[in-house]
Amino acid sequence: MNGHMFTLAGAELIAMGTGALWWPERSLLCVSDLHLGKSERVARRQGTILPPYDTRDTMTRLAADVARSQARVVVCLGDSFDDLGAAGSLPEEERLWIARLQAGRRWVWIEGNHDPGPVDLGGTHLAELPLAPLTFRHVARAGASGEISGHYHPKADILTRARLISRPAFLADSDRVILPAYGSYTGGLRSTAPELSRLMRSEAIAILTGPQPHAVPMPRGAI
């Protein structure tokens, strides 16, 4: 597994091909928008019965990243659950799995718009986490700096000489990083969307996830 290293507010960070962010100095692994329990929520609210394996798949990938990194701190950057009901109805097996992952390390749930309250799953619940020189929160704030956020599920389209390739991507500039969504049942928002083009500085880069992360100037759209 490879990563792309860059710095934010003096902190050396590594964007991993899996969509997780690694901060070696603090042994901190950060993931965003897990949307655990999404299939349950869709069945409950909409009646469509999606394959109920999304939580298992997301957790499998997260467990692998945690095991590889041996992180001392894990930060889930909000929208960790598709809603509070989905958090409440996670099967026992998956609750135990989360508990096993939490053992022996600090675990922080940042609140997101999908999961705005505390959940009964161990770890610390915070609206945001300041960890100098960085701040972890769910939705980026204009004017902030040293900020790590998620929420938008960014993806980037790259036109290669043979075809257009579209992948979930980190967006990074000198003020902030926006993480791609880590959950299995998540879609993406193109980096050319006005809200992302407005947020990110003109010299921002997009780091495409995949077997090998690739950094490119962030594709921008009209604001």
Binding site: R68, Y152, L159, R163, G187, L208
Partner: protein, 813 residues
């Protein structure tokens, strides 16, 4: 049944005689099922309706008497016109109405409360009617069902859906009589089996097929190009033909080609002949204007696609021109049936090949038509995704008994062999999702009640089920309007993917006009009119053709000749050139060409094995190329050849056909392939696992929705025997062949492989580069492409072209 006096008087007053097959239909008015095969213009539709008119003339009554189903909205509207005239002239008290997606909601409501005597509709609208709780009341007195153009419906899932809906109607009205109307088909008993309630008999009536068509290839002084589908070279010759005839229909294989041809035709139309364009992506009002002008006889020519393919009675058409090779001989013959609706005169048609390979194809097709060889297209058992949708439709209509529904379904020809286990698996899928992991006890979609019947857990779900009725896989399209302060004139629709490729200022063709893209507002593409001469061409849906393997054998036979004195000189020279720079494919050997073109390495495998086999070959060979590290990027298959492109050149074809290697891991490769994912998306949408994209959902942005590929990959990983994957495989195999057949082909060819490296594109390969239906391969080539492009982009942005991918990632561990 006797013809009532009022009706026979009407025939006499018109000076017409009742056709023999019309009398036969009357005689069989009480038969449970009758299939009439008659040429267009033979009074086929009236033959179908005559028993209804006679019954209602003798026994006037209220309520729905006859249901007529056609594959096209336009056809329902056309029949309404053509039937209302004689009914009015006969003075019969019969109300005739149509009901399609275009019918206003107020009229639709009224039709359910107070149905007409004769209702003309489409399979989708019928399925919707059947999903309402009041269906038993609306259909209570129904006596007859007429399925028009049944040969067209029989080829697709729309037909399966229709017959499933009919099985419900038959449950409501056990004495329902079924009539099918069909153009000439290869295997009438196969159609009859679909139509009849199993195991009812179905009598087949064959009307006089009329004189053989007069069909030829248009020869021009100008040589057609090597590749391309526009046939622009033939414009002057086509215009001459239009001038020499009263009304000409000019058929194209794709909408994009029709647009381009129409545009060029207008530029050359110095006499300003009235010529119009008609295809399915145009706005409804515009289509209706063209249809009305056609009925009035105002038009000299219509440039069109399959939207005019079926039996619409346009009156005075005396010439049909087919641009591009007819990909299917049956369709060609049916299209020719469009010309000259007078029963006793031969239909006249001209084929216009768009490139030189199509000259060869046209010659072979003409041979096949003369030999009376239609392409057979056996359909296999009824698809289970449509059955799943039908179960949901039944649930939307009210609680149902599983035994009764199973009995109804197995009364359909295509589902007669469906086992109870297979049915129960579909029911379980609809109720619980059918997953190995039982996760939805609380949120089941269907629940079994205390009385043993099944019902929707949440009655509000009925609305969502109705919104997703249908089996046509529509690509996402966007409406196109002229820009104006309060929403300008609608022009039609374009594919979302094409719209995404447009930048303000780009021009494209729609409805024969060049328009300029101004922007996107509320998911509507806003354009202004432009008078440019060179548009960027709209790409409409990549049409997938049903194709014919029979032409393959005929063409190989032609290639075996030393010379081709009967072909036009330009095509003869072109074949000689192919023989000089490469070879011509031969039976019993396998020709493979490798050459660079357009910045990529290409290989063409001329198997002449039919599209399904060539498609399968494409899947298997790209697997081997990926394993051999040659970085394939995609392939496309025709009846004759498979073109594969990638980053690296093939030097030795022998390892490609290593049978053990072909077989190893083929299931994994197949499961991950774009063909499977595309099929999964279509089947999962039909079966109700994923919902169609509603305009409102798309407006709210893509972020909330995620690709169906993710669901597919999740199932493959965690529930590989799930019903939806079984269905996907079955459906994909309809467009593929068994791998065993490819293995046999590899074994048969053995070492008789001719690998030619001509250094550049060859005459025979050229047309392949414009084929629709490309299948991307997402292997390691993507990583290399991304790396290349990332380096290039960073360098041009003045950033470090080689970002530090240091082993530093491992440092913290």
């Amino acid at each position: 049944m006797q013809l009532p006096q009022t009706i026979s008087d009407w025939f006499t007053a018109k000076g017409w005689q009742v056709h023999p097959h019309q009398v036969q239909m009357l005689d069989r008015a009480d038969a449970p099922c009758t299939l009439l095969i008659a040429p267009t213009g033979g009074g086929k539709t009236l033959a179908g309706f005559l028993p209804t008119l006679a019954d209602l003339a003798d026994h006037p009554r209220d309520g729905l008497h006859t249901l007529y189903i056609s594959p096209l909205k336009a056809l329902a509207a056309d029949i309404k016109r053509n039937l209302t005239t004689p009914v009015t002239e006969m003075g019969l008290p019969i109300r005739i109405e149509d009901r399609t997606g275009d019918t206003p909601a107020s009229r639709k409501r009224r039709q359910r409360a107070d149905p007409p005597h004769i209702l003309l509709t489409t399979p989708e609208s019928l399925a919707l009617l059947v999903s309402y709780e009041d269906a038993p009341r609306m259909f209570a007195g129904l006596r007859r069902v007429i399925v028009d153009e049944i040969h067209a419906l029989a080829e697709s899932k729309r037909g399966d859906q229709l017959f499933l809906a009919l099985s419900r109607l038959q449950g409501i009205c056990p004495d329902l009589r079924r009539v099918g109307l069909s153009a000439t088909v290869e295997d009438p008993p196969a159609i009859a089996r679909l139509l009849a309630r199993h195991p009812d008999p179905c009598e087949i009536l064959l009307a006089d097929p009329g004189p053989a068509p007069d069909i030829a290839m248009l020869t021009t002084d100008q040589a057609p190009p090597w590749a391309g589908g526009g046939a622009a070279y033939a414009i002057p010759a086509v215009l001459e033909q239009v001038k020499a005839h009263r009304t000409t229909l000019i058929f194209h294989n794709t909408r994009a080609q029709a647009e381009l041809f129409f545009h060029n035709l207008w530029l050359a139309n110095e006499d300003s002949l009235p010529i119009a364009i008609h295809h399915g992506s145009l706005d409804r009002q515009q289509r209706e204007r063209v249809e009305a002008a056609m009925v009035r006889g105002d038009l000299r020519a219509i440039v069109c696609t399959g939207s005019l393919d079926l039996g619409i009675d346009w009156g005075d058409v005396d010439l049909v021109i087919q641009i591009g090779a007819p990909k299917n001989v049956k369709r060609l013959v049916q299209r020719i049936g469009r010309a000259n609706h007078r029963y006793n005169a031969p239909s006249k048609a001209l084929l216009v090949p768009a490139n030189r390979f199509e000259v060869v194809e046209c010659v072979a097709a003409l041979d096949a038509v003369r030999a009376g060889a239609l392409d057979g297209d056996p359909r296999g058992p009824g698809p289970r995704d449509v059955l799943c949708q039908h179960i949901l439709i039944a649930a939307a209509a009210g609680p149902f008994d599983a035994d009764d529904l199973y009995a109804e379904v197995t009364g359909i020809g295509a589902y007669a062999a469906l086992t109870r286990d297979a049915f129960d698996a579909c029911l379980d899928f609809c109720a619980t999702g059918g997953y190995a992991l039982r996760a939805y006890d609380r949120w089941q979609r269907l629940q079994k009640r205390a009385d043993g019947r099944w019902q929707l857990r949440d009655p509000r779900a009925a609305q969502r089920i109705r919104m997703n009725i249908g089996t046509i896989q529509d690509t996402d399209t966007l409406k196109v309007r002229l820009k104006a302060s309060r929403g300008g004139k609608p022009l039609g629709e374009i594919e979302e993917g094409f719209a995404a490729s447009l930048s303000p200022g780009d021009t494209f063709l729609i409805g024969g006009e060049i328009v300029r893209y101004e922007g996107l507002r509320e998911m509507v593409v806003e354009v202004t009119r432009r008078a440019d001469r060179k548009p960027k061409i709209a790409t409409f849906m990549g049409t997938k053709f049903a194709t014919s393997t029979q032409l393959s054998a005929r063409i190989l036979h032609m290639f075996a000749e030393d010379d081709w004195p009967d072909l036009p000189a330009h095509t003869r020279d072109w074949l000689h050139l192919q023989r000089k720079v490469s070879r011509l494919p031969q039976a019993g050997r396998l020709l493979i060409e490798s050459f660079p073109h357009d910045g990529r390495e290409n290989m063409v495998v001329y198997g002449f094995a039919g599209r399904n086999a060539q498609q399968t070959l494409g899947l298997l060979l790209t697997k081997r190329l990926e394993e051999m590290g040659l970085n394939p990027l995609g392939f496309v298959a025709t009846d004759y050849a498979t073109l594969i492109w990638g980053l690296d050149r093939l030097t030795d074809p022998a390892p490609l056909f290593d049978i053990a290697a072909l077989r190893a891991g083929v299931d994994t490769w197949l499961a991950g392939n774009a063909v499977m994912k595309r099929t999964f998306r279509a089947s999962a949408t039909i079966a109700g696992l994923i919902e169609r994209n509603t305009p409102s959902a798309r407006k709210s942005g893509r972020q909330a929705t995620f690709s169906s590929d993710i669901l597919h990959d999740t199932l493959v990983k965690y529930d590989p025997t799930h019903l939806m994957l079984q269905i996907t495989r079955d459906e994909a195999m309809r467009g593929l062949v068994d791998f065993g057949r490819i293995e046999e082909m590899a074994a048969r060819v053995g070492t008789r492989i001719d690998h030619v490296t001509p250094g550049r594109i060859t005459p025979l390969a050229a047309p392949l580069f414009l084929e629709p239906g490309r299948v991307p391969i997402k292997g390691l080539a993507e990583e290399r492409l991304l790396a290349e492009e990332a380096d290039r982009l960073l360098a041009s942005a003045g950033l470090d072209p080689a970002p530090p991918r240091r082993p530093g990632w491992r440092v913290p561990y």
